[in-house]
Amino acid sequence: MNVRVFGDPRLFEIGPVPITETMLSSLAVSALLVFFALWMRWAVANRPDSLMATLARIIVQRIDQSVQDILGKSNPAVAGMAGSLFLFIAACNISGQLPGVHPATASLATTSALAIVVFLTVPLAGVRARGVGGYLKHYFSPNPLLFPLHMVSEISRTVALAMRLFGNVMSGHLVVGLLVALAGVLVPMPFMALDLLIGMLQAYIFAILSTLFIGAAIGPEENA
């Protein structure tokens, strides 16, 4: 069997840019999500009673409710961010169940990119909500001696975010691949079901943790 844990083979090149399997599968997932989003927007505007419109309202309401539970109040910007992260990661994880598809989140590059987006969003949201001085002050509270610890925590939680998603999705994919190679057709099915559950759970946790980090940067009054 063909084990691929790290690294991403190049399929072909467009000019100087190498195109890998991960890029193709994440592009396909993004295109599918955009397609469904446009369909749902059209449905909400033109056919308010249709199935797609109801589905859109349920998804938006659940995401908004989850963010509200954490932040204590509704915040459309954070809900959009967390919802996009959740939908993209969940769709990527589910796409791994299709035969022949290598899920984009099983590549360390994708998860690192997502974690870096969260890493950059946290100070942006903090500065927007509290101003530069107010945000920087939280690095020196409760005591300036804790500044290095705040730095370490910022970096380590970003690395943990990327490694957690990568490790879970990649290991689930690897276990199914090993079982297919060793045992045949029906044996890996329970593991595929577990993989589905873990994929949804990890997408949820990635979104929830990003919301927690952003919430902690936005305001100290929320007990995040």
């Binding site: 539970d69 990568f166 946790i205």
Partner: protein, 85 residues
């Protein structure tokens, strides 16, 4: 045995030990979380939604230490920097 064979053998043994100890720590931690969540659910069934959410988030956070061990073990086996090829 050549040097390469020794390195590969040691890597595989090290990967096994890494996974074993990583799994022990995460399993103990997760069992404590699960027990505490059951206790909380039995005392306050009304809070089940919030308890379950916190339970899953903390389970995944504790699980991540085992996942780190798994990644290290996989690096040792599949992407070992000390073996040639």
């Amino acid at each position: 045995m050549t040097d390469q064979t020794v390195i590969q053998m040691a890597s595989i043994i090290a990967a096994g030990i890494t996974m074993a100890f990583g799994a022990v720590g995460a399993a103990i931690g997760e069992s404590k979380i699960a027990a505490a969540a059951m206790d909380a659910l039995a005392r306050q069934p009304d809070e089940s939604a919030s308890i379950t959410r916190t339970l899953f988030v903390s389970l995944a956070m504790v699980e991540s230490t085992a996942i780190f061990c798994l990644v290290i073990a996989l690096i040792l086996i599949f992407a070992n920097p000390f073996t040639a090829g």
